[in-house]
């Protein structure tokens, strides 16, 4: 059965592995350069004041950084849909299930081998790419200190393995229930995208209770803020901020800026007008604070494993659903 599964899927597996090999060579070359350049920059400027050479680095490697991230964001869904959905649907479409189910093996074994073999190939392909991309982006992640933020979290570490397993079993299930390859591929992509979209919004922030704290709005905080401004026009508009915490994931988003007494402040109360830089320094010296809740950076791997476990559990559930359908209903 393993031989048959390999014989049926070898063309697609070889093609994807070949494409991945090209990507791997590209990432290995640029990655080595990036690691060397980062190392040199660090040793050249000692422990501080290397802002310019470091920011040059992020600019210089912007393209492969986004390409690798984008690829790893798409790969689990695409492989899951195009390998998973036809896995059973193709057999049902062409009637070959009636050939293979009449050999001397049970349907349960047929399903198990197919799911395990192609499923592991899916996970392995994604795992390889994730490993490579995670290694590649170590310097840039250290510079940006943002690997916990939603999109980057998805393309680092072990979570892509969970996504791949989930997308694949989802595809297999969709194929079994819809019984046609193409609609099953479409359904898989749709559902997988929806789950990927909802995960960082609705589930991931609640895996552990976030830490709540007030951050002093000093010059450093003003400089690293994602957003600092007013929520409307006019002098009465309240001041709001979306701050970053190094290596952490700020889950509170944009929150009102408070004064030392804990009251919301308006722009006109602080610094009514002036140039951008003068306004910034004015705000930074006004003794304000911003209440934020965030997931601290030391929880990064806990979250990676939690989320991987969630997706693996979903995959196991889908695999069970497949076998239930195949052994009970389709019989």
């Amino acid at each position: 059965m393993i031989w048959l599964t390999w014989r049926q899927s070898r063309a697609q597996i070889t093609a994807v592995l070949a494409a991945l090999a090209v990507v791997a060579i590209y990432l290995a070359t640029t990655g080595t350069q990036l690691h060397n350049a980062y190392h040199n920059a660090l040793t050249a400027c000692g422990n501080g004041g290397c802002g310019s050479s470091i920011s040059q680095l992020t600019d210089q490697y912007k393209l492969p950084y986004y390409l690798a991230g984008g690829l790893l964001l798409l790969l689990p869904g695409v492989i899951g849909a195009f390998w998973g959905a036809p896995l059973i649907a193709r057999e049902l479409e062409t009637g070959t299930h009636r050939l293979v189910w009449n050999q001397s093996i049970t349907r349960a074994r047929w399903l198990t081998v197919k799911l395990l073999f192609v499923g592991l190939a899916t996970v392995a392909a994604n795992g390889l790419l994730s490993l490579l991309v995670s290694w590649w982006s170590v310097p840039l992640d250290q510079i940006n200190q943002n690997r916990f933020t939603p999109l980057l979290f998805d393309v680092r570490g072990v979570v892509p393995l969970g996504y791949a397993a989930f997308a694949f079993t989802l595809g297999a299930c969709a194929g079994l229930f819809i019984r046609r390859s193409l609609p099953a591929v479409a359904a898989t992509l749709l559902v997988f995208a929806a789950v990927q979209f909802l995960m960082p919004l609705a589930v991931r922030p609640h895996l552990e209770a976030p830490v709540r704290t007030d951050i002093a709005l000093n010059a450093e905080a003003v400089n690293s803020a994602n957003l600092l401004g007013t929520t409307g026009k006019g002098p009465d508009a309240p001041l709001v901020a979306n701050l970053t915490v190094p290596n952490a994931w700020v889950v509170s988003g944009t929150t009102p800026v408070l004064n030392s007494a804990g009251h919301q402040v308006n722009n006109k109360d602080i610094c009514a007008s002036g140039s951008q830089s003068r306004w910034s320094s004015c705000v930074a010296s006004a003794g304000l604070k911003v209440p934020v809740s965030y997931q601290p950076g030391d929880r990064y791997w806990t979250f990676q494993w939690y989320e991987t476990a969630i997706y693996l559990a979903l995959s196991a559930g889908l695999a069970w659903l497949c076998s239930w359908r195949l052994l009970r209903r389709l019989a």
Binding site: L99, N102, S104
Partner: protein
Amino acid sequence: MTAILEARGLGKRYGRRQALSDCTVSVPTGRVVGLVGPNGAGKSTLLQLACGMLTPTSGTIEVLGERPGSSPALMARVGFVAQDTPTYAALTIADHLRLGARLNPSWDRQFAERRINDLGLEPAQRAGKLSGGQRAQLALTLAVAKRPNLLILDEPVAALDPLARRGFLQSLMEFVAEDGATVVLSSHLVTDLERVCDHLIVLVGSRVQAVGDIDDLLATHFRLTSARRSAESLPEGMEVIQADHTDRQSTFVVRSATAIHDPSWTLEPLNLEDLVLTYMTQAAAGSRTDTRPALETQR
């Protein structure tokens, strides 16, 4: 005569559609059994229940004394060729033989290779490039090289041209002669089966209308023509299957253990096709009196 396949009160329902209901049938060991019936009689459903592709919604079916498809050991003893003789289009003939060898413990490699060779097929050719007849032959080879005790073929020749049809049935007969296995094959055309079968099951509306060795069936069925008379006036022991009356003349198809000759009628034997058609017509006429919707009876 022991039964290799035994169905009792067998039924299969797909959602709201009843494909087979209350079917009781038994297939004797060592015969070549033809299963005939009109389209939609439940032949395919019955055969798929027999090889474990489907599970019944009511009643029981046993093959070789076990529930079909219940164990790999049983599956190794049952060969099945599905209606459209599916094969993997992307795989070569050699791949298919390898598939058979890997998935069946009792695989007869020499037989499979010899047959492909005898058929003049190129092992490196992809199954997708084969003609319908060649594909059917490949599917039959896969099923036969398992060396099954029971070989089930669902309308194996329906899609084939007359030449391929003859070739296929010839191959089937060679296998039967060689192995002595029980074969069940279905068709809606009795002419397909006449040459290869020695036992017949007529299935109409999921009910068995007639069953028996073909020789016995032919020896006990007659067409009787006489001056107009009622069916009741025929002697005891003659079962009237069908009666037709014109103003002057009556024609009966009767089942009778012996040919009773009487100067007032002419008695002639039926050929197999007439016999089967009579049963089919009668069953269809019977079902018309049911409360079924009109569409149903037209199938």
